[in-house]
């Protein structure tokens, strides 16, 4: 049969994903700093995504080069963040003296 690679225990991965999802939701409501919560959430998301890629998509059992193809988008996305982020300096500077936005409903 075509499945030469070893099959991981899918149910173990499933329970990990389910438990980590519950942990993610719990983290949102933990009494911690926003930055720490953000870092934890990003870490948990990356861990879950890695599990899906490694075991469900069998990346762990593929060649190293295919792994490099798969990881490239993450590098590009990370690069994009640093390309886009400087925008925030510009806009904050320009709007620093404006009145704070009202909470009135937007008109359509």
């Amino acid at each position: 049969m075509a499945g030469e690679h070893k099959h991981p225990n899918y149910m173990t991965i499933f329970w990990w994903l389910a438990v980590l999802t519950v942990v993610e939701i719990a983290v949102v409501f933990l009494p911690m700093g926003k930055l720490l919560i953000g870092v934890l959430l990003c870490g948990l998301a990356v861990a879950k995504a890695a599990m899906v890629a490694m075991y469900f998509m069998h990346l762990k059992f593929e060649t190293r080069t295919l792994g490099l193809i798969a990881i490239t988008p993450l590098l590009i996305a990370t690069l994009l963040v640093f390309i886009i982020l400087p925008d925030s300096f510009y806009v904050n500077h320009k709007t620093a003296n404006l009145k704070p936005a009202t909470s009135a409903p937007a008109k359509h």
Partner: protein
């Protein structure tokens, strides 16, 4: 050599060795497509982060959107990933019937996911979240929400159609080995959609 024989003994008939995915070129093709698609989602999420960082009145997403339903949707998508690997596993064991059943469950999970998303969107639109404005703050909050979750929902919808088409392939080919590759490749797409949702759920709802 017929197409049937080409699929069953794919190792021998590949025009040239592909060292990345020895099983088939199709699998490599899907991986490259997914890498490109991932850049699309990466760009959307990076832009979302940029817009949020530049905004002074970005609403707290989980207060506005609510995460109970979405958490259930996340769980549903994880479950559908499991039924997907089960479909491939059963096909590997030569059981086309079980494979078709699990492919159907996977498509069903996707269909329920899209339905719940439609319900969620309807609910939020009635509450005032529009693509061009909302009562809670930055108008781009609604814009980015609908664009990113919509783009993902479109992927799920396409995945459901793709899964049902592959179910048809398994049904038409008497030899289980003849459709193993096709099922493995649709699996890659489906798990990718699950993977992207993990990211979208974290960045658009939880953070």
């Amino acid at each position: 050599m017929t197409a049937q024989a080409a699929t069953t003994s794919h190792h021998a008939v590949e025009p040239a060795e592909t060292p990345l995915t020895p099983e088939s070129w199709g699998k490599l093709g899907m991986w490259i497509f997914l890498a490109g698609d991932a850049v699309g989602f990466g760009a959307l999420l990076a832009a979302y982060g940029g817009m949020r960082a530049t905004s002074a009145d970005w609403p707290v997403p989980y207060d506005v959107l609510g995460i109970n339903l979405t958490a259930a949707m996340t769980f549903l998508l994880i479950c559908s990933s499991v039924t997907m690997v089960k479909a491939l596993e059963w096909l590997g064991k030569g059981d086309r019937g079980k494979c078709k059943m699990f492919l159907f469950f996977t498509a069903l999970g996707g269909a329920i996911f899209v339905s719940l998303q439609a319900y969620e969107w309807t609910h939020l639109i009635h509450a005032g979240l529009h693509i061009n404005g909302n009562p809670w703050g930055a108008s781009l909050f609604g814009t980015s929400f609908f664009v990113v979750t919509g783009f993902h929902g479109l992927h799920v919808t396409a995945g459901v159609i793709y899964l049902l088409a592959v179910l048809g392939v398994v049904a038409r080919r008497p030899d289980p080995a003849a459709s193993y590759n096709v099922v493995e490749i649709v699996g890659l797409y489906w798990h990718f959609v699950d993977l992207v949702w993990i990211m979208v759920f974290t960045f658009m709802y939880l953070l």
